[in-house]
Symmetry: D2
Subunit: 331 residues, 4 copies
Amino acid sequence: MQFHSDNAASVHPMVWEAMRQADSADMGYDGDALSQRLDESMSDLFGTECAALWVATGTAANCLALASMVRPEGGVVCHREAHIEVDEGGAPGFYLHGAKLMLVDGEHAKITPDAIAALIDPIRDDVHQVQPHAVSITQVSEYGCTYRAEELRALSAFCQARELGLHVDGARFANAVASLGCPPREACEGADALSFGMAKNGAMNAEAIVFFDPAKADRVRYLRKRAGHLQSKGRFLAAQILAMIEHGLWLDNARKANAAAAEIAASVPDRLLHPVEANEIFLHLSETERAQLRDQGFGFHDWGADSARIVTAWDTREDHAAALAKAIGAL
Amino acid sequence: MQFHSDNAASVHPMVWEAMRQADSADMGYDGDALSQRLDESMSDLFGTECAALWVATGTAANCLALASMVRPEGGVVCHREAHIEVDEGGAPGFYLHGAKLMLVDGEHAKITPDAIAALIDPIRDDVHQVQPHAVSITQVSEYGCTYRAEELRALSAFCQARELGLHVDGARFANAVASLGCPPREACEGADALSFGMAKNGAMNAEAIVFFDPAKADRVRYLRKRAGHLQSKGRFLAAQILAMIEHGLWLDNARKANAAAAEIAASVPDRLLHPVEANEIFLHLSETERAQLRDQGFGFHDWGADSARIVTAWDTREDHAAALAKAIGAL
Amino acid sequence: MQFHSDNAASVHPMVWEAMRQADSADMGYDGDALSQRLDESMSDLFGTECAALWVATGTAANCLALASMVRPEGGVVCHREAHIEVDEGGAPGFYLHGAKLMLVDGEHAKITPDAIAALIDPIRDDVHQVQPHAVSITQVSEYGCTYRAEELRALSAFCQARELGLHVDGARFANAVASLGCPPREACEGADALSFGMAKNGAMNAEAIVFFDPAKADRVRYLRKRAGHLQSKGRFLAAQILAMIEHGLWLDNARKANAAAAEIAASVPDRLLHPVEANEIFLHLSETERAQLRDQGFGFHDWGADSARIVTAWDTREDHAAALAKAIGAL
Amino acid sequence: MQFHSDNAASVHPMVWEAMRQADSADMGYDGDALSQRLDESMSDLFGTECAALWVATGTAANCLALASMVRPEGGVVCHREAHIEVDEGGAPGFYLHGAKLMLVDGEHAKITPDAIAALIDPIRDDVHQVQPHAVSITQVSEYGCTYRAEELRALSAFCQARELGLHVDGARFANAVASLGCPPREACEGADALSFGMAKNGAMNAEAIVFFDPAKADRVRYLRKRAGHLQSKGRFLAAQILAMIEHGLWLDNARKANAAAAEIAASVPDRLLHPVEANEIFLHLSETERAQLRDQGFGFHDWGADSARIVTAWDTREDHAAALAKAIGAL
């Protein structure tokens, strides 16, 4: 009964099926029929013209998206707990040629215009100090919380006023949309680019970078190749993304993961470190309690000394979630 | 009847099967049982202790391998027609932080110690000139030719004497081994690292970087993550590689591709630009002749004004190869 | 009566004289007789074999020194107020190809082994997180305070135990030695490399990078050229450094600057934000008080809303320092 | 009697004088009155609005100028013998984050639109191949020859048509203007940026980067700091440049150097490898002949096995030039 992470979950049967159908030889790289359909498919989904590129990992998606907004001498404002800061092995430094991550704090790993302003307003507008070029937020945040439409509008207005790009790391974007119940564009409103995660939500190894200004994608196609991320059989990545998008699988899967998390969270409201708004639960669990749960067959990560992180996925079995809810409730 | 490239060929059924079996959730990244087996599997194959990392593309494999040998201020000697120079969108410049490719010429896209010496001997050993740090060769070469064991020994001895790393771009390494009929290590003798191609030979999107000094792999694991190439479900890449290696599929597939190329080549000995030693045929074909072939349903790339490139793959149908051989013979 | 910064102070007559004498043509770059004397001169000064390179700026000195210790995928631990973090326009990101600055806090802009341990101990030793490769401290610190020999020994022992390089940004290293009254090597004990500042202390535009493991300098010579910092008439930089070192000018000048600062500080002990241990004074001064001082002809920088920074230099006139001391005392 | 290079020549007395006058403390970095005058001074000289930045070396000037035109994934077309390719230790790779130098041949180290077209026309406009972003020429060329106004117009028109930036490496730009006898802008017509060399022509360690679109300088100011090239006492660099420009010293000095070279060249017309159009002479001299000259006290560099390079400077003594002319004539 695994609750370690959604990032190693199994691949959805419809994704497998789509990959199988993509096997017949086609043009290499992104010249195949499926890759060529991505722009249109994403434009339909978001209700606005956009350009979409496949890549194999979220780290590559984030960094390539940021490379369209940030020059090497600039900076990216993000939360101190942002995945790009904490868990990507310094990839932004590599892709952005030494640009700087500028860290802000904020409840639930979310950031606000005020927090950004407090960080960047004191930066002298001179060559001795690195100037911010973009803001990156994570939807859902690293603590499992969502940005609401009004929060996004405020951030987007702030970024426009300061001439900052806005990037959304959407490793769990589907879970955010499922949680917010809004149209997808509202869940990333104002963003210039979105890393739209698929691999945690039923795909095998495909993520989409969505550019809401399609012209911005042109240069990134070169950067993707330059980073060794242009696969020769790209049709298999496109197939995964289209399978997720065109039949609503992305949303169905996210709803399942969120529902499982909600069930577990409902059983332990007093233990929660953060509101459970998607498929991650951060909760107080003493060392003893964690050991008890593990003895019962539940797998999950520690989160510091007194807490744990529990993550559900699209393929989390209902009986496993119910069992975990019950087990924690009984502690 | 496609002879454009092997890089978009279909995925072998045994690879599909292995990927399917890898679907059950396991540890993320390269913590899964399959990824953990790569070192041993490659060590068995090459008859020497080595470390192996999966990546999704040959460009990433080449650049990460070179990053273990070349510092940013140095250079890599390669053939003027080398894939890293001509077809990787400047990826070596990115991965090596501005290190320089130093180009030599050589028949059949192969390079010799003499050619390298002629290039690097005049380089003054001072800080004004970029110093070579490594040599990269392609086995089979970009013109479909193989390096023989004695050629490799000479290159390797030269590199050792000059304290240069030696990298083998083995996008079609299996085809080289099939052609040479030697143990795999002999086909890359003396190399410090090998980009062992799988995707052109029956896999979907996995390549192996093989380090013959296992310690050299340690740093590259960090660089792989930093480049966004550490997939969360790495088990699917490991599965492809193991499926190719552990049952001899890599060699069987390469033999099939080579045999198809040999059949076609045998029908047109006078037209060949280069010896056909693997699965690529470069041959004189006038514009009219190319049009005639295309009218008969054969697909392939032009190669300059008067020639064409024909590539066979593991899945090239025997009747297609025979038909093409006959059609060219009849021109 | 300028107390803005020592970085724009005038050039000492003995430095001018040495530059004049260097005017006769000699070998270019660092092949001249003066440049060739640097290693020996610094070895004498520090009482241990070292290698020394000239560069024109402290930013270049810091970054080139760090490049000898830090690979692109690694990190440098430094104080949150460190010059390399705050005031070098992102130069470390450029020179280190995207390596990360890892920030710690500490009183008086100084850092301790405990503070470093608190930052780096939680870093998981895996590829997802940037690993520290070096520590950089500033002697005297950005708040004008010195590291004592025992503090340096503790830091150095810590770095050795953790296999971290140790760099000292010595933009005001002479002021530290003057303040500590110790042999120069004790003021940077255990450091692998020192950016030994000259320009703030009587030189025109020369700084020395001192490597206490001379072999480490070899690669940096290439990096210096690659960064466009190898001047063709390097003899003029060498001349400045030798003029500063070989007749004790570096120490005399620093003593003068320190003495002026001490005089001012002595008049306002209750206003000080940090101990005044070198030539910088950070002190409480209200907006009104600052205006009063400026009306009397004193120039200096604000330091936040309620404070100011006053910097003395080797050429600060005694009557100016006395006047400022008196004026502040009279507020 | 030194004819090795102009790059180690002495500093002109008027430059010394200007530096002396700049010694009084002023604002740091480029905030001083002299630095602030550069734009206007260069605009006057070139008869068009431009922005000018000082840096200490030609390598930095070239690379920073190119950084305003070339993105990391692009390329710079230059001559195979260009200084940026041959003698800058890979600095373009560093400053341009791995962008590629694309080499063309051409008589006298000069390049033509046809030669560029022959190189870049075959580049497929796809992501697999590095796309050219700029062209860099050297005026006077590495073989001492000048581009005429009509050649520059053709290059400039070509670059505009192909949307390529045009950079002029003018390490000896003054010598070109002196030789061509044209207004300065005609000697770099159509260039977007010029590295205007001073150090070989009487300055100590200052070069100017001139941007003919002043807006392009803004970003480069940040890049200059980031590269550690913003000196704190920048006034001494500005002083050198102004001293060279505002009283015509740049042109007078270049004329002297050119005249000395012309005198020597006139004595040996049959030995010349290239027309002598500025202050460099490449000529056939056997090993024995070179030895004979050296025995007579003349210093110069070999140029391959059978030739030599002789360089005159602003401070080459007339009697030395005459003596060398006579000595070669007498061989």
